[in-house]
Symmetry: none
Subunit: 220 residues, 4 copies
């Protein structure tokens, strides 16, 4: 499994295998899928936006669904990468003195990730309910891996008396719900154009409020 992961990550990082047109197709497909949803997107429109003949799409991706998966799978892989690949980045390997420090790190890291993969994540979220195979992978890899990895760290903080004595899954759920609500607010803010800045949230204030909320909520 980890081999498959690493391959996916490399294959995608090392995009030399792709022809120029193929890259354009992917880019166009991401844009169109994110904009209209998978089912409402036509391969014709994708081809046009990619500046490619429609047939070219099907030379690289056997079906439209194949195209979807080839977009969504690598991102899914990258999503769990931090959790399955040792020393992939510093989130879990750095020593954190407090749960708060960890929270801050995660928020920064996830916002960065979200920003980078916004459109693909939108597609993923939209399509998961209709593709049982994606659901399966999500549950099997992502959820399982995240819980497993977090478990170790949270146990440490629980032992040192920084966190309430709740099941790991519960702590993860409550932490995640807080973070997710903040991150969504953050990207929502970004989606507003200049003129609408008046209705924006105060990002810094909300971040601090969120962190304090979680810390207090999970205090022993």
């Amino acid at each position: 499994m980890e081999q498959w992961m690493e391959e996916l990550l490399l294959a995608d990082g090392d995009e030399t295998k792709m022809t120029e047109k193929q890259a354009k197709i992917l880019e166009a497909a991401i844009a169109v899928f994110a904009e209209k949803g998978f089912a409402s997107s036509s391969t014709n429109e994708i081809a046009q936006r990619a500046g490619v003949a429609e047939g070219t799409i099907f030379r690289h991706y056997k079906t439209k669904k194949d195209l979807l998966l080839s977009i969504v799978a690598p991102t899914l892989a990258k999503f769990i990468a931090p959790f399955v690949l040792r020393d992939f980045n510093q989130i879990f390997d750095a020593e954190y003195n407090s749960y708060e420090e960890l929270l801050r790190a995660i928020i920064v890291n996830r916002i960065e990730f979200l920003n980078k993969h916004k459109r693909v994540l939108k597609i993923l979220v939209q399509e998961i309910p209709f593709h049982p195979d994606l659901q399966e992978q999500m549950k099997k890899f992502v959820l399982a891996k995240v819980l497993e990895r977090f478990g170790v760290i949270i146990a440490k903080f629980k032992a040192s008396g920084q966190l309430a004595d709740l099941p790991v899954a519960t702590i993860v759920r409550l932490t995640a719900s807080g973070i997710v609500s903040y991150v969504l607010l953050y990207v929502y803010n970004q989606s507003l154009d200049k003129r609408q800045k008046s209705v924006q949230w105060d990002e810094d204030g909300e971040r601090e409020a969120t962190i304090r909320f979680i810390m207090k909520g999970l205090a022993p």
Copy 2:
């Protein structure tokens, strides 16, 4: 506006205006839309499941999108009913001695609502990103009304020193994120069949943990 609301609510509660066929069409459409998504559903399949001719659908709903809206609108209306219709139900009109009591009332109320409208809510959530008109209504009515109504109550609890001194929107956001994560867990639990009960969450425990989490998190 409130008139329109009341009409919607009545029209739907009092389903005598609908022919039997029309009701069957709605029911079938909800089932199919929830299962496959709006764009991937065919009016043909809806007609078959409803046991009517395809043409009959278009006698009642000018277009396929019309059908979607006539499904989604009443549920949206009911969703905000407690917030816009005085004495529609007891949530806000009862006097709550503590924020915790309010939380418990909301959880019960929302779970009930979600259970009753699960499929339509799924459709709504799926389709909102692709229908700007729905988004507009959502923001204008739902969000605005909910915040407005909540504002009054939260102000009271803040004044009496039960809640931290945070913006109302922030308190709503953090409260909502906690409740949503619990409610989703609750319905997820229900979707598991008997054999999978072993992987279930402990509902009661999670509910209590969630309430305590929110209360502690929002304490002054």
Copy 3:
């Protein structure tokens, strides 16, 4: 099975179930398939010749292959009808004083049949090698039924000393090969236009020669 047969035969005889357009589609499909072969025929051309929108074809026949089968199946059924349906016609129920009489009756009957279903039979013969399901049905029903029915009659002629003492299957094979070669000659003759009548065979002469050939060849 015989029930299924009778249904097929009736369904086809009683073509009132078909809309006018559907009949036109069948007629056009038979023409085009016979002319170009199944794989080289386009539903587009069939639609045009039928004076129908292309979509109409697929309202009546789910796939192009479905259309093929709905053409070929009834003819296949009619082909074996004389052998499975008692008193369907007079071939086997009349008393034949000699094998020669039987031969003459068959030739007349088969030429008539061939003339009536020339195009469909061409399609059938062309497509059988590529559709194992058709092959199966052919072997199971047609061959089996024909041999069985013939067996009884041939046994009678063998017993009365009119035919050589050969296996029934062998007699059928040799008889059939002779008849087939004559019948093909006959339809080939018809396919020639007036100007080419000079290269025609002498039908009557060939028929008599064929019958004498078979009779002498199978004499005891």
Copy 4:
């Protein structure tokens, strides 16, 4: 014409003119055409089975039809070789004392030929109805040559009182129909696997029956 024939025959026997790839393409094309029919075969599949790039096919054969012809033509040439090329083989050049001897020789020879070229002959038979140019060549060369050559021999046997006084074409037709029905039976037998040997015909018995049938049928 005979020069063209000889060239064809040599070119194919002496396959040194073909590159290895070209040979593989031909072999693959024969396999695929025989399996699926010409129209249903894709150059893509042929290329894959041949282990070459799709473009390579078109380097050697201008069009897909060209490929078909380059498969079918040499076999057609070989088919008439015994009839047009003096001392090509022994069938007609040996002196036959009886028509029966000739029959036996032809059967052996044709079974051998059929076995060697089974797939190509299947392709040829399948495609002839849809390619008027092939039909033309068939009639002009094959039929004409065969009849002409046979005519001489049959005239001899008629003169010596071994055969009935029928037109040469008729004798050829009746003889051919008998032989063909036997040869088809023979190859059908071969196509059955071990387990099905019980349903086989008795080859030797059928061959003798067929020969006796023809001899008796054509006796004066």
